[in-house]
Symmetry: C2
Subunit: 523 residues, 2 copies
Amino acid sequence: MTSAPDHRWVIPVTLTPPILADNTADADRLAAALNKALGTTTMHIGLTQLKALPEQLRQWNYQARAVLFKTENDRGSLVHLTAPDATEPLCGAAVDLGTTRVVLRIIDLETGEPLGERVFDNPQATVGPDVLARIHHVDAPDGLDRLNRLIVDGLNTELNALCRTCAIRCENIHLIAVAGNTAMTHLLLGLNPRWMIREPYIPVVNQPPVMEAAELGITAGPNARVLIFPNVGSYFGGDLIAGILFCDMDRREETAILVDVGTNAEVVLGNRNWMMACAGAAGPALEGGVTRMGTTAGPGVIDRIAIEERTMQFDVHTIGDQPPRGICGSGVIDLAAALFRSGMIDIRGKLLPERCGTRFTIKKDLAHLIVVPAAMSGTGEDLCISQADLDSLVRSKAAMYTILETITGSVGMTQAELETFFVAGTFGAYIDPQSAITIGMIPDLPLSSYQSLGNSSLGGAARILTDPSGFDRIKRIRDGITYMELNVNQDFMNRFSAAKFLPHTDTARFPSVRVPGNGGRNS
Amino acid sequence: MTSAPDHRWVIPVTLTPPILADNTADADRLAAALNKALGTTTMHIGLTQLKALPEQLRQWNYQARAVLFKTENDRGSLVHLTAPDATEPLCGAAVDLGTTRVVLRIIDLETGEPLGERVFDNPQATVGPDVLARIHHVDAPDGLDRLNRLIVDGLNTELNALCRTCAIRCENIHLIAVAGNTAMTHLLLGLNPRWMIREPYIPVVNQPPVMEAAELGITAGPNARVLIFPNVGSYFGGDLIAGILFCDMDRREETAILVDVGTNAEVVLGNRNWMMACAGAAGPALEGGVTRMGTTAGPGVIDRIAIEERTMQFDVHTIGDQPPRGICGSGVIDLAAALFRSGMIDIRGKLLPERCGTRFTIKKDLAHLIVVPAAMSGTGEDLCISQADLDSLVRSKAAMYTILETITGSVGMTQAELETFFVAGTFGAYIDPQSAITIGMIPDLPLSSYQSLGNSSLGGAARILTDPSGFDRIKRIRDGITYMELNVNQDFMNRFSAAKFLPHTDTARFPSVRVPGNGGRNS
C-alpha cells in the first residue's frame, strides 16, 4: 500500500536570478518556487528568515535547500534554509508520547532513513501512574505546570542524548511529530485536561495548530516546528490517528480493523470511504481495563507459555531467558489458552482442581495455580496466577470481544467479514493471535488476517516526517472518523455476558477452537 | 462607493455549550463559530490563548467577544478574547509610515470610530533626510539596526503618548496596520533594503506576512498583530496600495487615476478590472523630484498666493496667518500660475523683468522675484523665488504631466477621458487644481474631476482596521497591478520637452487656460 513519497520536506531549490524584467522580491521569488514544489498556495517565511534571505540567496547564487512544513493542507512554512552544498544534517524527531513510556526516533529528513531510537519512562509517572491520576494532579497547586515541565524536560534530556548517539546536534532537528493520547498531548502543551474527565468530557483542543518548538520549550532548530497529532475526543487520541495513518486504513479499499490495547482498548473499523471508532474506557463493564493483568514486560518476565497436553508439562519462555519472575499480558493470554486447551480451567475460566493436580493450591482462601514452582522461579517463591486474575482476564477478554462485536455490528458487518485485523502496540507485538482466539478475545479469523503493527503511534509520527502527503491525510482521517460512544445498555451487557465464556457461549463462532470435553472441534 | 462593513474585527460569539452528543473541544467549537462569522475556513488559536480558553468559556457561560484578524483571505487568527460584558477598549492603530513624517491614528475596533491622531517626524531623519541616504546608511556598522531601532522606538513612544491622549493603554491595541513606502517598511521590519537601489532593484519581500507586534518590538496587546501593506516593487510601496484601497479604485466601474506626490510621483490608473501603475523615480528626467521646491509646510509658510491682475498686488496667505517666512509646494504652484496669468513669466517660465517691475532683482548673478519684501516678511529679509526655482518647477511639472500622458497613453486613453482624478497626500490636500492646470502640471479636466484624498495612506491603513473585507482586497489590488517601468526613451523625452512650456506646447490641450499675449482663451 505504502509507496515512496513524491518528495520530502527537504526540497532543493534553484531560482531564476532577478532581472529588470522580473524584479519580484527575494522572498516572493523563493515562496513561489517552494509553493510549486510542495503543491501549496501560500508559503510563510518568517521574519528571522526574511532578514537573512537577501545575502543568502546572493551568496548561494540563488540555489538552496529548504526544510519545509505545513500549517494547513494548502499552506506551507519555510522552516530552515541552507546552502545547496551544505553538509549539515537535516533531521526530524518522531515521538510516541505514551502514558507509561515515550519513544523517540530521529529521522534523516532528506532520505527518510531512521538514524536512531530511544525509549524512556514518561517522567510524569512520578506524579501518577495513569492518565486519571495525572489529570487529578492538575488541580494541585502548580500541578499542571509541574506535569508540563516533567515531560518537556524529559523530552529535552532524552532527545539530546539520542542526538549524541546519532552524531547530530539538537539544532539539526527541524521537524517534530508527536503522537499521544489526548491527555498526554494536553500536558505536553500545558493545556488543562481537567474537563476531559468530567461530563461531557471536553478536551481543550481537538486539532492543535502546528507550533514552534521554542514556544513548547523544546530544544531544537531555531525555527523547528512541532506537529501534535489531532484527537477525536478525550478518549480517542492522536496516537490512534497516527496508527490509522501508519496502516494506511484511509487508503484501503477493503474494510480493516485496527485494535490498540494500551491503557484502554481503542478500536477503529473502516476503509478509504468511512471509519468508525470507539474506545473502551466508556463503560463500567470495562473498568479495570482489558490488560490490567500481569506485570510489565522486562527481564525474567514470562511472555509465552505452552502446556504439553500429554505430559501437562509447562513450557515457559521468559524475556532475556532469565529465571521467571513474573508474567506479562501476552503470557497470561497464552497461559489461559493453554489451561483451557488442557482442561485445567472450564469454559467459565474456573480452575478445575482435579485437572490441575499439584499445581492447584489455596492461598488466602483463594484458588491459585502454580505456574512456576519456587524451586525454579527467579524469586524463590511460587509464581502463581489466582482465580481472581483469571476472572479478571475473562472479563477483559469479554469486554474486548464485545467491543469488536458492537463496532462491526454497528455497520452491519460480521466479524468473519474482516479481512485484515491490525493489532497495534505492545499488546499486538507480543500476543499470540492463536491464544487470543482460543480464549475468545478476538474473532476466529484465519491467522494470516492478523497483522501486528508494532508501535504504530511512533510509526505514524515518523510517516509524517518522511512523507509530506501524510500531513494532508491526518486531517482527512480525523474529520472522517465517526466516533461511537460505547453505550453500555442492556444489549451490550447481554453480549458481554455471552462473551464471558471461553471462547464464547456460541461456540459456533469459534470453529477453529477445540472445546475440551466437547470431544473435538466444534462443528 | 464605500458602504458600511458587514462586520468588524471584533465579533461577539455565543457558543452552544457542549453536551455528550456534541463534545467538540473548546478550541474547535470556538474556531467553528469564528470561521462562520468571519467567512474563513481556518481559525488559528495560539498556545497562550488555548491555555486560558477552558476556564474563560466556562466562566463566561460560552459567550465572549473576540478580536480577530487574518493571515490570508481564508485564514483567520484569534487575537484576543474577552468577556461578553467586559468594558475594556478594543482598539487598533493605523500608521502612515512616511519618510519625513509618521502619522498615527487610534481606532475603536468595535465602532470603527477614530479616537485620536498624532503626527511626528520620522526619527530616522537624524540619519538621513531621504530614502536614498537611509538606504546607504545600512552599509555603515550597525546601520540597519540603528535605523530599525529609531523607528521602532519612535513608534512606541508616540503610540504610548497617543494612547494616553485617548485614555487607553497600549495593551488595548490589538491590531496595527502600517502603510509606507517599500524602504520605510523594510526598515521597520529590520530588513536590509540595500538591493532595492542596485539594479535590478529587488526588495527583500513584496508581501510580508502578518506579524506579531512583539516580534517587531512594538508595544501593544499581548497577541497584537501587525499588517504591513504589501508593495509592488522597490518604487511602488504599500502606501500606494493603501491609497487605492482608500479611494476604492478596485471597486469602481469607471477608470480613475490616483496621483500621489511625496518624495516621488506615483501614479495609478485603473478600475475594478485592471490597474496600471508607475512611479516617477525611474528616470533622469525626474531626478530632483517633482516637489523639491519650497519649504515644508509650517507656521508662516505661504501656502496660497494670488495676484490681483489689475493692480499686480500679491495676495499672500500663510499657515497660521503668521508673517511670511517661506513658501511651500502648493504656494509655489499658485505663485507660478499667478505669475503666468499676469504675464510676469513667459511660456518657458522665465521671469519677464519689464512685467515684474520693482519685484525683479538680480542676486548672485541670478534673476529673482521678490514675493514678499523684507519690510513685510517674517524673516526681515526679502522672500524671493529665483529663476532656478522656477526652472526646477517647470521641469517638475513637465515630468508630472509626461508621466500622466505616458500612463494614459499606455492603455490607449486620452487624459480628457479621465472622469476622476484623485490627488493623494499633502500635495493633494493643499494644491489648488486650478493653479496646477494653469501651469500644465495636471490635465485640463473639469475642476469637479479632482478629488483630494488627504492622507490616503493613513486612510487605507485605517480602512483595514474598520472593514475586514479590506484585507482580502489588498492582495487582489497588489496582484492586479501592472507596474510599468517608466522607460525614459526618446519618445518620453520628446513628450517631456513639449511639456516644458506653460501650460504646454500644444495649448489646445488646455482650453480653459488663458495664455497671456494670446489675447484671450485658447480656442
